[in-house]
């Protein structure tokens, strides 16, 4: 039991392990764990000013948020935004990947073309789309005018503003996700297709019964990523709508930013950040523990 050599060896292994772990642990502690805890801490204090210094108020900041109609509007916006962008961009990414993976002429060009939106900086892309959407001058309106359609202020009216943001996101994300699907498709051996051919499976059957299940790990990965991205989106909003009109296109992170740096209400912003972290954590856990079980990893 207490073999001194074995103990020494185990201790050496343990030290080695901790040494390898420490750079990442240090970085994560300084830039992720500590800020999270600090945020949690500050979310339980009231906003201080010269007359009333900041004091501990427990969960009051959270209660305020739940009573705030704008908060609920922003949550609804974000859910709608995620509910549309995630499935649509995954579907488009998968279709493009299946197509760009088949034997087509100029395959390299097609792949590059699809990937271009991802390479563009967010701000540049948003400015590009700002031009597309501009009433009167914009490309969309000019095309519409050819068919005699009236000018539409896509970003300036509550009914279309969020949709305009959604389309920009899909345009940007689909190409990015396609790269993951392309990589996954290349790991599927060619002879599976041949075996399915000989068994008489159509292209569609092969895709549905063989390719899609084998792509499940990738889909899961993309879903988690898209989910996080949908909460992280902020740069487009700065350029395109600033959350307007009348909060129609305001998303969670933009609202947090607004609260912290426009209204200087750090405690409420901290409380909202904690809620976002909590929800994202739960979603990631569900995705990894439940869908994971039904997923085949090669």
């Amino acid at each position: 039991m207490s073999n001194p050599h074995a103990n020494l060896e185990r201790r050496r292994q343990a030290i080695y392990g901790w040494l390898l772990l420490s750079p990442a642990a240090l970085l994560l502690s300084v830039f992720a764990f500590y800020p999270s805890l600090a945020t949690l801490w500050s979310s339980t204090f009231s906003r201080g000013n010269r007359r009333n210094p900041s004091e501990y108020i427990g969960l009051e900041n959270y209660a305020d948020l739940f009573a705030d109609p704008t908060f609920w509007l922003v949550v609804r916006n974000n859910l709608f935004y995620a509910g549309v962008t995630i499935p649509v961009s995954i579907f488009i990414a998968l279709s493009m990947a299946l197509w760009a993976n088949s034997k087509i002429p100029a395959r390299g060009f097609v792949r590059t073309a699809y990937f271009t939106p991802t390479v563009l900086p967010m701000i540049a892309a948003a400015n590009l789309w700002l031009f597309f959407y501009t009433p009167g001058l914009g490309v969309l309106d000019q095309i519409g005018a050819l068919f005699g359609l009236p000018s539409v202020n896509w970003l300036g009216q509550p009914e279309t503003a969020l949709w305009a943001i959604i389309i920009v996101t899909i345009w940007k994300e689909a190409g990015f996700f396609m790269i993951f699907y392309l990589a996954a498709l290349q790991t599927i051996p060619e002879d599976l297709k041949e075996a399915a051919d000989i068994e008489g499976a159509s292209r569609w059957t092969y895709t549905r019964r063989i390719v899609l299940p084998l792509l499940m790990p990738t889909t899961l990965f993309i879903m988690v990523n898209a989910m996080i991205n949908s909460v992280k989106l902020i740069d487009h909003l700065f350029i395109l709508t600033k959350g307007g009109p009348s909060d129609a296109s305001k998303l969670i992170l933009y609202y947090i930013w607004e609260m912290a740096f426009a209204f200087f209400d750090a405690p409420h912003a901290a409380a909202m950040t904690m809620l976002v972290l909590l929800v994202l954590g739960i979603v990631a856990a569900i995705q990894f523990f439940f869908i994971d079980r039904r997923t085949h990893y090669q």
């Binding site: 041949e194 299940p213 084998l214 090669q298």
Partner: protein, 341 residues
Amino acid sequence: MTTQPFVSLKGIGKRWNGKLGVEDVSLDIPEGAFVALLGPSGCGKSTTLRLLAGLEIPDEGKIVIDGRDVTTSAASDRNLSMVFQSYALFPHLSVAENVMFGLKVRRVPRAERLEKLKRALEITGLTGLEDRKPGELSGGQRQRVALARAIVAGQRLCLMDEPLSNLDAKLRNAVRKDIKKLQRDLGITVVYVTHDQTEAMSMADIVVLMKDGRIQQIGSPQELYSAPVNTFVAEFVGAPPMALIKGHALTGFDDDTTIGLRAENIRLEKPGKGRLVCTVTECEFLGAETFIGLAHDHATGLTLKAPGMALHPSGHTVEISFADGDLHVFDSGGKRVARAT
């Protein structure tokens, strides 16, 4: 019995970017035969199989299966099954789902599907493993799943692309017998690709030996062994392969001929009485016999088969002789020369 062959390839050619794949391959296969396509790697045997399967379309020639011209038909229309070298099992499907995949695709009713599955698993000895995934099976079991998938639909033609190359030597011997028995019991026609001449010789009714995209010889294992049409066949078939001796080393033969000689036809001779004087290079003791490798300036692959344990020190000089009737004679181009006697 009809005289028409079950499978027929006529003048098949296939090239990739001017590079040779196969050239002028013609082959007739009677129903129920076990045909081995044999040859070194890159000889076009796999290409021939893939052309037959419909995974490639030939540039020229004609393929007929069961009286139907299928030269340009899709793989699924050819009514055949195939076992891949990598097995090509669907990794996310269970054994049962893998085996039934084709039946499901062809919309076979559920009851019949399960009946066929049960039978196929029984034949291949996989009963009880229905719910396992391929990743949870051993190499031999995976191989049998691939076999079960190939036979479950009851196709009369089954193609096999080096199905044993991923198994260890012991398992290979066992599965070899299983496949042969399966083929005979089910009465199916098998076209089997291999680079291992032992496999081809022990399993096949007809061996097709290929080299550089062309067929060298078609015949029974016995024909290939006892009457190789050229020096390539002579050196490829048999273990050990046939020894080749330059004609001028022996009296009574033209200088530009090559003489072939099998190990079992060589005998040791007392000094001064042999027809060739050689040096022993190595001895390989196999239990029932010993192979003694011999070196001679004008011969390659000279091996003597001696019964039991018969070790000679390397470097030792020995004399050998052989009967004229056991010699195979090839002309300067390597072609077999028919002999009067």
